[in-house]
Symmetry: C2
Subunit: 431 residues, 2 copies
């Protein structure tokens, strides 16, 4: 695991070099995805079946998963797991409910009413990746905020897999209130959601993570529908002072590192002794992990133990990283919140291990990665609504503003704009 | 001007055909933009100067416009225009101020604190197009919401032009509180804002309209920085019943049509007589417009007079179009708001001509176009902030949730996640 120390700037420079991931030349993938999208636009359902046979080696009879299969998945699920997912659902709902914005209306000026409406999206598509592991928690995280926002129709797409869709995924879909599940994946699923087919409805927004084909397809349909962010490698930064427990810190770094070999686990401390102890704990704890090969590789390639000169530098480095997950294992953690400028999700104190947020506390676990917490937010209910402005002017109010409107319009060379207002300004008292 | 009538579905199908703009093959532009971005990333300021010489035929001494030039622009501006822009500024501020979201904190469960912080972006870049006309109103619309959100640094880029940057643009920049103005435009300006150069700061979000090169560059840097929407052709739909004044309706359609030959002006009515009268008024009014050639072309190619069977169909058609601007020139316009599902900005009643919103009422005029009001919002203060979640768990709270967290983690095959929690659950009473 690489160590970084010295002054703030030199640490940040070294980190930047380490984090520079290979610029892959994706032109081939981009062309392939463009072709897939075109194929789905042209041939609809039959293209989806052909592509599923080609990429997933599954011959589909129907695209839609019958509702009975969803109900059965709930019944079949281990009771304690179902109960845990139900608690997660309740906590996600109670947290995200607080994010719902209100519209407003402003009547402060005579003859003028201005305001903003909030309306939910009509239809949303949620992509759930296939592969070896199933992530029912991600289904809840993507679907429930849309549900709370009042989205009319929520559909889910996920690759069929040779053994069918994992029961936990179907159960989570049912639990979250997904309207329809379609057993398609890859770029073809994104194309179907963006443009619609005979069976799959065209949606207004596509959310959910996926592999490079899914991500490329999302970027290509961006503008045709809205999309959530393009997810990069997952990351955690742990801010720890001498009060921190090295075993806890190491356990959290490992929970990040086990995700995949690109995962970034970083300790930022001002205490050299703690840095050493965490390194020792990492070696000890990693040895017994089922995913130790992945975790070790991630720590070797992207792990970082950063020894900063002082607390101020610790926070400056964390803000420069703008991590997806940020833990503060320091004294008085709540008092440190105002030193954080950029982070997706912040975990305060010795006992708020990051998996608490992944699974149960109710915040979202779909978070901005790779420094994009500088400008993106965790997935939230406002991702599933949009605003419409509205304005009413009486004739008197318009008459009062007539000259100024016409002045600006003519300064911009737009005579018809000026006339559209002037034709109405009669100085009659009709208000 | 094309007429559409019949049942709702047939009208919508015909409209879709008319609105299908030529799918241009932009691969050449995309490659050109990719090269420009690479050039700026490699050579920074010197590339900017070279590209400005090549594309704008201007030899730049410095990239930054001196602050003295901004101050002078304010002094030189026509007093009445300055005063009109000041009124616009006040109205924009009072409207957008109501959009600012609050963070929240939830302490409803013992031992758990959850919440959400709201923080402004550090730096924003505003693109202002060059060309024959200057749009100071757009400067206010793009800059003021960022200012209200608390963005730390707001920079503006705009092509130098052979006669320099129009004074109205510089004055509006000063009035809105732009920190720095740089005289560069095109894809090279977007590249500079996304990656930074010796002189131009890297920003977190780029907003503002531009030509195809600017739009392509914005799409290419999307993810490196955030961007606002990609703007399509401007559009208006006017809903009018027999109470509407045909001269007013025609004037508003023309104020849309004069923008450019791609602009879409649509009347939706259930009254055949009104449809005829508006057509007559259009012919009459267009004849004396300075931009009559543009307006006539826009009306011929994209204009629509839509005769619907009834009011319900009128609203269904409007919602299917999801227009950027929607006027309701009908009786009791405010009562119609709940029939609108998708529209960027709604103008209520006979006297709320669309240019009122373009220039003075205070709503934003940067709006979702081309049907994207289905999922995008008008530019607003939330475009310049982001959220960070935070969570605190006491040891007791964590111990209570320990089993459920570990259960879900193991169901997802993530053992290190389960252990990171379990290592902390000691059932000690340390809360």
């Amino acid at each position: 695991m690489k160590r970084f120390e010295g002054n703030r700037e030199s640490i940040l420079n070294e980190l930047r070099t380490q984090r520079q991931t290979q610029q892959t030349d994706n032109q081939q993938i981009e062309q392939q995805v463009r072709d897939i999208i075109q194929q789905v636009r042209t041939a609809g359902d039959s293209a989806l079946k052909e592509l599923t046979l080609a990429f997933d080696a599954v011959q589909l009879e129907t695209l839609k998963v019958p509702d009975a299969a969803l109900k059965k998945a709930i019944t079949d699920l281990d009771d304690s797991l179902l109960s845990a997912l139900k608690q997660a659902k309740e906590n996600i709902l109670s947290f995200h409910q607080k994010q719902l914005p209100n519209g407003f209306i402003d009547t402060s000026r005579k003859g003028v009413v201005r305001g903003q409406l909030v309306t939910p999206l009509d239809a949303v598509g949620v992509y759930v990746p296939g592969g070896t592991a199933a992530y029912p928690s991600s289904v809840l995280m993507n679907v429930l905020p849309a549900k709370l926002a009042g989205v009319g129709r929520i559909v889910m797409v996920t690759p069929p897999g040779k053994n069918g869709i994992p029961a936990a995924i179907l159960a989570a879909a049912k639990l979250a209130g997904v309207d329809d599940v379609y057993q398609i994946g890859g770029a073809q699923a994104i194309a179907a959601l963006a443009y619609g087919t005979e069976t799959i409805p065209k949606v207004d927004k596509i959310v959910g993570p996926g592999n490079i084909y899914v991500a490329t397809a999302k970027k290509q349909v961006y503008g045709v529908t809205a999309i959530d962010m393009i997810a990069g490698p997952s990351e955690i930064a742990v801010l720890a002072d001498d009060s921190a427990n090295p075993a806890f810190v190491a356990a959290d770094l490992l929970s990040q590192a086990e995700h995949d070999v690109m995962a970034r686990a970083m300790l930022i401390t001002n205490n050299a002794e703690l840095a050493d102890e965490v390194a020792t704990e990492l070696d000890k704890q990693v040895a017994s992990l089922p995913r130790k090969t992945i975790a070790r590789q991630a720590l070797a390639d992207f792990g970082a133990i950063i020894l900063a000169d002082n607390e101020e530098d610790m926070f400056a480095i964390a803000n420069a990283i703008a991590p997806e997950h940020l833990e503060i294992q320091m004294t008085e953690p709540m008092m440190r919140l105002n030193q954080i400028r950029h982070a997706g999700s912040i975990f305060l104190g010795d006992y708020t291990s990051e998996p608490v947020g992944d699974y149960l506390s109710g915040g979202n676990h779909v978070l901005p990665t790779d420094g994009t917490a500088r400008f993106y937010s965790p997935l939230n209910t406002t991702d599933f609504i949009k605003y419409s402005q509205f304005t009413y002017y009486s004739q008197n109010a318009l008459t009062d503003d007539c000259e100024n409107i016409a002045l600006i319009a003519r300064a911009e060379g737009l005579e018809a704009h000026a006339r559209a207002v002037e034709i109405r300004c009669q100085k009659e008292e009709t208000e």
